[in-house]
């Protein structure tokens, strides 16, 4: 049980967004192909499908490897992840010539604090639970 703690940290980190991806893909498929949503999200879907889960896994690995011994709260560390993901998502969208809807920029002042809170709670309770279950907390 005490072997490969970093592998377990990575797996615990990617578990939540990977499971949540099912809901995202279902919502996206319904919106795009049932209701003919005119936004071609498939051009940037690689970001939530690949980049975000791996970022969660690496973020949890960094926490277990370096920060847990210094008693830094997991919720605060995980809550800081949107500060990297939001610019990363914007960069991916720009690199892939995805036209970001103007409403997205209008909701940033409200959306960013909400994202920070959601991430804080999810990391504190869900990722923390998985870390404890896998013996790395």
């Amino acid at each position: 049980m005490y072997k490969h703690p970093y592998l377990r940290a990575y797996l615990a980190g990617i578990a939540i967004p990977t499971a949540f991806l099912l809901a995202i893909m279902t919502a996206y498929t319904i919106d795009r192909y049932v209701y003919d949503m005119p936004v071609p999200i498939e051009r940037v879907i690689v970001f939530p499908m690949a980049a975000v889960p791996n970022a969660w896994g690496l973020w949890n690995l960094i926490f277990v490897a370096f920060l847990q011994k210094r008693h830094i709260p997991l919720g605060l560390f995980g809550g800081a992840l949107p500060l990297l993901l939001v610019p990363g998502g914007y960069l991916v969208a720009r690199l892939l010539n995805f036209t970001i809807p103007p409403v997205a920029f209008q909701v940033v002042p409200i959306g960013l604090p909400i994202a920070l809170i959601v991430y804080y709670l999810v990391w504190k309770y869900f990722v923390g639970f998985l870390n404890a279950e896998l013996g790395i907390a």
Binding site: P48, V52, I110, G111, I117, L121
Partner: protein, 73 residues
Amino acid sequence: MSDREIEEMKKLAKEALPALRDAELGRDLWPAMVERLSTQRSGMPWWDWVLLAGASAGILFVPGVIPALLYHL
């Protein structure tokens, strides 16, 4: 090692390690353990409930943030 040496070793070990006195516990530790386990199930602190309520209200009043949240989660 011969039997005589083993007996000698036992004798030396007994001399070096005095017999325990009052080895029994003075009190039952289980009730304290149960109390400690029950206090650890306190759940979420109040400030996390406040944050959850604030985030829920934000999503409810500004549903435009939902696609952005889904994109980054």
